[in-house]
Symmetry: C2
Subunit: 436 residues, 2 copies
């Protein structure tokens, strides 16, 4: 950590030293990490290096000129970078470089699931020896903060089951077979065309991608050291449109489910674990995961089921996880009690004047002209009626009916209601709810 | 932090010092925290004190005899407790005691939403002055790790919207009005009878409980310092069964929604915030929150929507959040790189032999006797057929049909399938999926 030039000479004792970040890989995730680091204010983080093959081709003009662009890992390792961020992917040279970074006394953030699934414990213990940290929150479920959730937020529980949808490509393809009633091959081609599946989709389709993620979750959440290859992975390629018809008849849909479960009472030395297409009940949150999103359900002895969901892939969501890990390391380098990386607090004016559609439910003594009176007041306030609905069979003396309003500020509706609630045909004040 | 007796004399250099925990309040949450602390192995946490009014009445035999039971806060403050856990509730004496604990150089964990919503920033800054921590993960959404999720997992994003269902009582009551078509008053009475609502339900029904939680989320996630009283809170008491009928006609349901949103472009100095009953689309995750569960959706500039869901109340889930906070403080007192509080890692045997119901989909050249052949093999393996389903209108030469099996181990099904897949009427191998 280096002290920023102005802090050294100023009386600004609160200024935290700058934490230098080197980025290995400047693809979708890497450039998104750089973007967030540049756009965030007040982070005390400084991007010092960008490493990429053919780096000249990668240079962008929106990064500060202080950033050193390089193809040579030694430039990074011999520098004053505090945190090395590996977002190149692939097992090599990523593994070597991470080892060398840790050995050089730098902490590491990586999004590399295959590497962490294979060498996580070893790299973590190397980091410990060197009094550094390695964080890999982006390696599972992209922007969904499930690693920190299991490691910290649910640390007080004893988790025994983790299941989820960890591969957005499979989820997208299965959703498409279901929605469009098309064969697997057609859904795959479509996903490839739209960029939701890679040219070689093997890793995704065969469950190898999700299997690496499940191994990481089993380690972090269930404290089980698992070899990736020991987890069964079954392809989704055999699923056909007819299977969704049958599944629906059973009140289910089909999803690629990653499941790891301990049964400490009956099978203390076993971990049940697999990645496979499976039928899940339509009422389950797993059945409702849309498109390429991810969802993880963790079940614990004390806290029951906890759900984490969100965007499991993509440059920006994955970069959020990477930057969160960078901040976590920067904070712990600074001791936990500082405010490093926290944007400064605002004290805004608070208002409930949401602009939404609105639901107005009246209870009236029926008589002619009610709608006309209401419509006049609303119109005078500049509010447009969307619909008037009245369910049949209600008593004339207590007649409930509904007016929905087009989008407008709540304050405008409150103004109209002050007049409306004085009208003598109302049995009770109008019920006003926003439609979100 | 004190060194455990055996570690002082042994060569066990890896042993972390014990962290002493004092518990203020031994009600539902407090006793659950004590239970988890006692049942967890390997935590390096030791319960040193339990404070409660009429403490004699509270004593239990399942806590170690080393625990000091007291009614006197000075016993705790003058002790070697490292972390003081406040789970008494109420503004006073909780606030005084937390201040005094911080001033005595102890860190604090609290589940007290009203206190944190009101004095959070002040207490945090007092903690900082004293180089201590105050954690309040249990103050919002009980066991759902949303505070740590916002503060750490999503720290890399710039969040601008947080909305959610933060009060299980209201969610339960509204669900009951909807499901049973009963008036509000009936649903409330039922909830009180079942323990889902308190004798005086004002805090919940009027939105005051959720409002305090929303103020905390706005601070942690949106970095907005908000006075609780400035947030609009509207009662759910005016909602009637007829409103669910109308809402359903609009493709919606009604939930108590807590919403805080920044619009930095159009309204830079405003925070839109309210707790109120609102119509939400049936397809929204907010519409699907069951019973007394909680759900929070955080939306960020980079990561999009992230969902956190789970049990928002109850002794055990809330205690999980408290213990997670205790562990976070213990870890940071120990420097982040130790393993404190992490259960030791297992290396279990991995198996995919889940016991579930099973889905077997066949594609056959139709001829008489197919079901009989399959049924014989399954029965010989000791597997019970649940149902046979065949959709009409398929060609005889490529006839898909389905057999579902009663719950049995996957390995048994695999054994049967080895025989079945050799049968000559199969056009392709049987598709076998578990029904989860």
């Amino acid at each position: 950590m280096t002290t920023p030039p102005d802090a050294a000479t100023s009386a600004n004792q609160g200024a935290a030293p700058v934490c230098n970040v080197a980025l290995l890989g400047f693809g979708t995730v890497g450039s998104s990490v750089a973007k967030i680091l540049c756009e965030r204010s007040n982070t005390h983080l400084s991007l010092s290096h960008v490493l990429n093959r053919n780096v000249a081709r990668k240079k962008v003009d929106w990064l500060p000129s202080s950033v050193q662009w390089t193809e040579n890992i030694d430039d990074v390792l011999s520098s004053n970078a505090d945190i090395v961020v590996e977002v190149m992917g692939g097992l090599q040279p990523a593994e070597d470089w991470i080892r060398r970074a840790l050995q050089s006394g730098k902490s590491v953030v990586t999004a590399n699931k295959q590497l962490i699934a294979r060498c996580g414990p070893e790299l973590t213990s190397l980091a410990r020896q060197r009094k550094q940290q390695i964080e890999f929150g982006a390696s599972v479920a992209g922007g969904v903060p499930v690693i920190s959730g299991l490691h910290q937020g649910l640390a007080g529980d004893e988790l025994f089951k983790i299941c989820g949808i960890l591969n957005g490509t499979c989820n997208y393809i299965l959703s498409q077979i279901e929605l469009n009633n098309v064969p697997f091959a057609t859904a795959l081609r479509e996903a490839q065309k739209l960029g939701f599946a890679e040219a070689d989709p093997t890793e995704d389709i065969e469950g190898l991608d999700a299997r690496a993620k499940l191994a990481i979750l089993a380690r972090v959440g269930l404290h089980c050291n698992v070899r990736v290859e020991d987890i069964l992975a079954r392809s989704i390629a055999a699923i056909d449109a007819v299977d969704f018809e049958y599944a629906n008849q059973l009140g289910c849909t089909i999803r690629q489910i990653s499941w790891a479960e301990l049964k400490p009472e009956s099978k203390p030395d076993l971990l049940l674990a697999a990645v496979q297409p499976a039928l899940v009940e339509l009422s389950s949150p797993l059945a409702r995961v849309e498109g390429s999103k991810n969802l993880v359900v963790a079940t614990g002895t004390y806290g029951g089921e906890t759900v984490f969901g969100g965007h499991g892939a993509g440059g920006h969501p994955t970069a959020v996880a990477v930057v969160s890990d960078i901040l976590a390391i920067a904070r712990s380098k600074q001791a936990a009690i500082t405010d490093l990386g926290q944007p400064s607090e605002k004290t805004p004016t608070v208002t409930a004047d949401f602009t939404t559609r609105h639901y107005l439910r009246f209870l009236v003594k029926d008589r002619p002209g009610i709608i006309a009176s209401l419509a006049t007041i609303l119109s005078d306030c500049g509010i447009n009626i969307d619909a008037v609905v009245q369910k049949p069979g209600c008593p004339k003396s207590h007649l409930p009916f509904l007016i929905t309003l087009e989008e407008c500020p709540a304050a405008l509706v409150d103004q109209a209601l002050r007049q409306i609630n004085a009208l003598d045909f109302l049995v009770q004040p109008c019920l006003h709810l926003p439609i979100l």
